[in-house]
Amino acid sequence: MQLQINIEPPTGRQQRVALSGRVDTHTYQDLDQRLAPLLGNAAVDNLVLDLEGVDYISSAGVRSVFRARKALAARGGKVLVLNPQPQIKKVFDIVKAVPVTDVFRSTAELDAYLDKMQKKVLAGDDDE
């Protein structure tokens, strides 16, 4: 029934947010409220949602993730999801909440992805 939201210090242009508990019709407003300043911050490109501690999500929670994705997509950013539990993964799959490529099973997998992204960006810069 409760939802804990832990906003970690930003690293580069990533902002990591760890959630635990339930993201449902009773708690999604809390999440929206806490994410709003991050989404409005132009210094943040990518939002990493660590869902390891979340054991339940409903459509209300999915909508919050959608809103975050939309807000970041407007400036080329992304929502990356880390460690979703089976029920969450199932819901995400059903509603296609996040592209499969943006879901990571572990921090290592995520870091590798971010490195790759970094190089890609640098390469792009070289091209210019």
Partner: protein, 795 residues
């Protein structure tokens, strides 16, 4: 203090008055004695001086006369032939006699015819020779008397001629032969000045006067104090005949120019006929006595003064204690009242004492009258007390009736047991006074719902009881309408606040429980949240929000808190008579103690839980009377055997759940179903799917299906058939078929995707089949969900 003389002065005055009289009398007596003594002494002195003076005078005269007689006899013996001898021989014979008798001034001799034949001294003082011879003295008495009588003769006093002014007397003797022939006369002038010295010595006694008179009563000597001149002729008939010859006595002088007072006098006559008189005046004696009297009086006065001084010193020993006594007495009275009657005593010390007594008396009188007032007041108070007690008894009687009525407003133990067979209910209400402000009730609303509340009016006593009756009545009416607790409280709050002249208030905890599945909704109007004792011994305190106490705020809102009681769980409510119960040291019982106590009551039924709590608070109170009303209410869902457990397969009788059309109750409902499914060993992942379906359907219905303020009860029936769960949602919301709802396009670009519609998608994805019907104005949605976990999902 100046208004009356002090005892000191009075004593001195009295002593002066009565002490000086005997002193003066004694002085007078002494003076009188003195006078008498002086008188006698004066008489003796006068007499002695008189005798001595007369003897002296007589001796002087007779010795000189004898000397003349002898001289004449010697001349006679020489014979006629030898007479008159030569002048030189005669002078030598006369000179020899003058040497033997220095009182003679001159000596002479005559012949028979009275012619002077020779004399002595032969020369005068200046050396000129005397011419004695030839002078005829035949006419003189000193010649004629001896010639005529043939005997020696002594003259009276006279003043000599040619020899100064000396007082003199003359002695003469005839020269007579044996045959009788007369040859002449021998004469000697006797100087009386020599006598003066003797007389002066005799008269030298102070106050003493001396007078010598010759036989012819001519004054020969007089003291300077006497008014007589020498040779003065005194009258013959006079004072000399008074006869004061034997003893001195007082005689009036009776002479011209004599003192007018009488004198003590003594008179002695010589054989030659001279008179010697000694006098002393009475005034002299009296004046001496008076001087003595004055001396004695002065002395006595000094003695009296000394005695007075001593008396004053002694008197102070009396008067000082008297003054002190007065001062002390005065200090006893503490009075400074000027209206004290004037003291009648004249003595200062006694007046002070009297004043002090008067003040003390007044003070005593004041105290007495005050005491009487007090006694009167006390009698009045006693009467009033008796009246008050009578009133009090009447009020007591009324109060006990009120208490009965109030007790009848809360359900008794038997009534509680009968009311809700599906619940264990235990309750207790102990008013601190005859009537109290606490209340509670348990009211079955219908087959599912039972409403209960516990309340506490802000005050105690009759006023609180009346207010409580009103609040309890309103709550009961509202509860019977089946209102959820938040709504129920806001309705009652409005009713009470609208008309609350006494400005009292009540805190109320209200709950509505579904006795079958244990969903419990709570709302609080300023009251302590309850404690939930779980079957496993955990004690939860729901962190519920509370609204305003009932009484002031007509528009108060009361948020609800929802939870679920599983079988064996109990909810325990109380009033502050429990938490604030003080022990002997004033420490409150406190919520920590409640938790402790409840944990210890794990496994017991509602009555056991309540008994344990009551025992703990009684022990805490240590026998003191409760300071506040104490109310406890415990409700417990009995363990499973209360509902006979059906034989397998489980869930054959469908689970029927209900909830108001409020989202807040959803988790409770969801938990209830989840519990039941868990008991059926349904895998957790599937249970989460079912919870998700429940949330998506019900939140959609509650959010979008009702108009503002519309109330409805949504029913859920869950029935298991083999590996499938049949869910039926039945609600009175507006008609809406979720199965006809257009599904969102999941493959659209993110920018184009709708955020809504995901719930319906999830429900349809998770359900094996779904069916919608509109029946009797209600939506009915039937879903079938497979209970085994599909392999592919976890992949």
């Amino acid at each position: 203090m100046s208004r009356s003389p002090s005892i000191q002065h009075r004593l001195v005055r009295a002593f002066a008055a009565f002490g000086s009289v005997p002193v003066l009398a004694f002085g007078l007596l002494v003076a009188a004695g003195d006078y008498v003594v002086r008188l006698r002494h004066g008489a003796d002195v006068v007499q002695a001086v008189g005798i001595a003076a007369a003897e002296e005078l007589s001796l002087h005269l007779s010795s000189h006369r004898g000397a003349i007689q002898q001289l004449a006899d010697r001349f006679a013996a020489s014979g006629e032939a030898a007479w008159p001898p030569s002048a030189e021989a005669l002078a030598a014979a006369l000179g020899r006699t003058s040497v033997s008798f220095p009182g003679f001034l001159t000596l002479l001799a005559t012949d028979a015819e009275g012619r002077v034949v020779g004399g002595w001294p032969s020369r005068q003082a200046d050396g000129a020779p005397f011419t004695w011879t030839g002078v005829d003295v035949s006419d003189r008495g000193y010649f004629r008397v001896p010639r005529d009588t043939g005997r020696a003769f002594l003259t009276g006093v006279f003043v000599g001629r040619g020899f100064g002014n000396d007082r003199m007397a003359a002695a003469s003797a005839p020269i007579v032969l044996d045959d009788g022939r007369f040859l002449g006369v021998v004469q000697g002038a006797i100087r009386l000045d020599a006598l003066d010295r003797l007389m002066s010595v005799a008269a030298s006694q102070p106050g003493l006067e001396l007078l010598v008179v010759d036989p012819a009563l001519r004054v020969a000597f007089a003291s300077p104090g006497l008014p007589f001149a020498v040779h003065q002729q005194l009258p013959r008939d006079g004072w000399l005949d008074t006869g004061a010859h034997d003893a001195a006595r007082f005689v009036p002088l009776g002479l011209p120019a004599a003192p007018s007072f009488d004198s003590l006098a003594f008179e002695r006559d010589t054989p030659e006929g001279w008179h010697v008189v000694v006098l002393t005046s009475r005034w002299h004696l009296v004046s001496r006595a008076l001087v003595d009297l004055a001396l004695v009086t002065l002395l006595m006065g000094l003695v009296v003064l000394a005695a007075l001084q001593a008396g004053r010193l002694q008197g102070r020993r009396v008067t000082e204690p008297l003054r002190e006594l007065g001062r002390r007495l005065d200090s006893l009275s503490l009075a400074d009242d000027p209206a004290i009657p004037a003291a009648r005593s004249e003595a200062t010390e006694l007046a002070t004492l009297e004043d002090a007594f008067a003040r003390v008396a007044r003070r005593v009188a004041d105290q007495w009258s005050r005491l009487q007032d007090d006694v009167a007041t006390e009698a009045m108070l006693r009467e009033e007390l008796a009246r008050t007690m009578a009133q009090h008894r009447a009020i007591d009687a009324e109060l006990s009736i009120a208490a009965e009525i109030q007790q009848s407003m809360v359900p008794g133990r038997d009534a509680l047991a009968r009311k809700v067979p599906e619940l264990e209910v235990a309750a207790l209400l102990e008013p601190a006074r005859a009537v109290g402000g606490d209340f509670f009730n348990v009211i079955p609303v219908d087959d599912h719902y039972t409403c209960f509340y516990v309340g506490d009016v802000s005050d105690k006593g009759v006023a609180a009881a009346l207010f409580m009756a009103r609040v309890a009545t309103l709550l009961e009416v509202a509860a019977r309408r089946g209102e959820p607790p938040g709504k129920l409280l806001s309705v009652v709050a409005r009713q009470i606040a609208r008309d609350n002249p006494s400005e009292m208030f009540a805190t109320v905890l209200c709950g509505v429980i579904d006795v079958h599945i244990g969903t419990l909704s709570l709302a609080s109007a300023g009251h302590d949240p309850p404690a939930v004792l779980r079957a496993d011994g955990r004690v939860d305190r729901p962190p519920m929000e509370t609204g305003a106490a009932l009484g002031f705020d007509a528009d108060a809102e009361y948020p609800e808190w929802h939870l679920r009681l599983k079988a064996g769980d109990a909810v325990v409510c109380w009033t502050d008579g429990l938490t604030e119960a003080p022990d002997a040291a004033g420490r409150e019982f406190g919520e920590a103690a409640i938790g402790e106590c409840l944990r210890g009551a794990r496994g017991g039924d509602a009555q056991a839980v309540m008994d344990r709590l009551l025992g703990a608070v009684r022990a805490h109170l240590e026998g003191q009377p409760p300071h506040d009303d104490l109310t406890l209410l415990a409700l417990r869902r009995p363990v499973a055997r209360a509902r006979p457990a059906p034989a397998a397969p489980a869930m054959r009788p469908p689970i029927e759940l209900e909830m108001p059309n409020r989202l807040a109750v959803l988790p409770v409902l969801s938990a209830a179903l989840d519990d039941a499914l868990a008991a059926e060993a349904v895998p957790e992942l599937v249970r989460k799917d079912i919870a998700l379906v429940l949330e998506e359907v019900l939140s959609n219905t509650v959010r979008h299906g009702y108009g503002e303020g519309q109330r409805d009860t949504i029913r859920l029936t869950a029935r298991r058939e083999g590996e499938r769960l049949h869910l039926r949602f039945d609600d009175g919301a507006m008609a809406w078929n979720p199965l006809e709802h257009e599904l969102p396009d999941l493959d659209a670009d993110l920018e184009d995707r709708e955020v809504g519609g995901l719930g319906v998608l999830l429900v349809r994805e998770l359900s094996e089949s779904a069916q919608y019907e509109r029946v009797d104005g209600r939506n009915r949605l039937d879903l079938v969900i497979r209970l085994e976990a599909p392999e592919e999902v976890t992949a």
